[in-house]
């Protein structure tokens, strides 16, 4: 092997595993053993590579990125599944384990179906729901508290949805006993665009639309509307989704 080839292969030799092939490696080693110049270069190149490799990998990963990605994934799964459910409601419902999600009524075409959909095992869709909720509230610039003590363990997704032409933050909670039922908590910002009657009309008849009364100052005028699928007409529509059963929501 000539010095020029040795120089080329030196730069391609890697600390982990021989990728040059046994023949080339043996030739290179023979050359290095007999050529002090290239041997010195090999040492220098090795030191340089180690330093650059450490520097290239030293990229701090943002603290909230993991949660943001997972939240987006859940929202995505929800969206995909709602679309799919719209097409193959009956089949999906019969084949897959259900976690309630999505009335679908807010999509542009306002499908009239009332299908729930399916997002996999009831548990573990959101692995760190408190963090997801916190991130969601912060990113949507919402007050840091929820307007009612929703149970984070029931969280299915936190994202946003197009409602009456506006992107509205929404968090979806599943019913603790029946995964076909769920509550969608919408946070309408205080810009007067919410048309409650229109909203009620958007929904199928077996859904309840509840406005949570809040202190306008504490919640900066954000109006919280919960849409639930009615499971038991005599039941408080929100109660199953709140953390402390028996504690009446205000």
């Amino acid at each position: 092997m000539q010095c020029r080839d040795a120089q080329f292969y030196l730069r391609l030799r890697r600390p982990a595993g021989d990728e040059l092939g046994a023949d080339v490696s043996a030739d290179l080693d023979r050359h290095l053993a007999g050529c002090p110049g290239c041997a010195a270069d090999a040492r220098a190149a090795g030191g340089f590579d180690a330093a650059v490799a450490a520097a290239v990998r030293a990229v701090p990963v943002p603290a909230g990125l993991h949660d943001r990605l997972r939240t987006a994934a859940s929202a995505h799964a929800g969206a995909v599944i709602r679309r799919r459910a719209y097409r193959v409601t009956a089949l999906a419902a019969s084949l897959l384990l259900a976690v309630g999600l999505g009335f679908g009524v807010f999509s542009v075409t306002r499908p009239q179906i009332d299908s729930y959909a399916v997002v996999g095992p009831a548990e573990g869709l959101v692995s760190d729901p408190d963090a997801v909720l916190k991130t969601w509230l912060a990113e949507r610039k919402l007050p840091p508290q929820l307007p009612a003590p929703f149970d984070p363990d029931l969280l299915v997704m936190a994202g946003s949805e197009r409602v009456q032409g506006v992107d509205v933050p929404v968090a979806v909670f599943r019913h603790p006993d029946d995964p076909k039922y769920f509550a969608r908590l919408y946070a309408f910002r205080a810009d007067g665009t919410l048309n409650l009657d229109g909203l009620r009309n958007d929904f199928a008849s077996n859904t309840a639309v509840t406005v949570i009364p809040t202190d306008a100052r504490q919640f900066r005028g954000v109006r919280y509307v919960v849409v639930t699928r009615v499971r038991n007409p005599r039941e408080d529509p929100l109660k199953p989704y709140l953390r402390t059963a028996g504690t009446a929501r205000r």
Partner: protein, 187 residues
């Protein structure tokens, strides 16, 4: 494959850090890197069905991210990168910088930014030490020899930027062939 969300979350957990670091080195910006990582996972989720071999998921995600990046920068960046032809050939002999090399992170990123992506990606993936040359070649859709050649040239470029030869180092070292066999100027 289990549930869709489970699959997505598994991919995120296993690969988001590496993917973000790659995105950061490609774009040189934390905000762009996060956007790109988000988009890559978003794209991956819509194509989860195309992932035939789960143990190739990382390479698959890297390829998706790179394609998104290339699509974004196709027009805006090309003109200010060092084009492929301008990156010199491998010098016959590098000057040996005495002692340990101190790599300044800002200068490293600047040097990467200056390079055409066709050089930048092999360098980043080489230094990540997580992909073989064959993997890198597959990701870039290039013959493995081309990847190796670009790597050798890209490394020479980096070295010239980050550890410029000390004047007179060759002489002090007593190198047997200071002129270098077929030595050439990197231009």
């Amino acid at each position: 494959m289990g549930s869709a969300a489970g699959g997505l979350h598994g991919l995120i957990d296993a690969h988001y850090e590496a993917l973000y670091r790659y995105a950061y080195r490609l774009t040189g910006s934390a905000a762009d890197a996060e956007d790109l990582t988000q988009e890559a996972f978003g794209r991956a989720f819509t194509r989860l069905g195309q992932l035939r071999e789960p143990d190739r998921a990382k390479a698959w995600l890297f390829r998706i991210l790179r394609n998104l990046y290339l699509h974004k920068v196709r027009d805006e960046r090309r003109h200010r990168a060092v084009p492929l032809d301008a990156v010199g050939d491998v010098p016959a002999r590098e000057a040996e910088a005495g002692g340990a090399v101190d790599v300044d992170p800002a200068r490293l990123q600047q040097a990467l930014d200056e390079l055409d992506e066709g050089f930048r990606t092999p360098l980043i993936l080489f230094y990540f030490e997580e992909f073989s040359y064959r993997d890198i070649a597959e990701q870039m859709g290039l013959p493995i020899g081309t990847v190796m050649s670009r790597l050798a040239r890209g490394k020479a470029y980096l070295r010239a930027k980050l550890a410029p030869p000390v004047p007179g180092a060759d002489r002090e070292k007593g190198s047997p062939d200071p002129a270098g066999v077929g030595g050439r100027v990197a231009r």
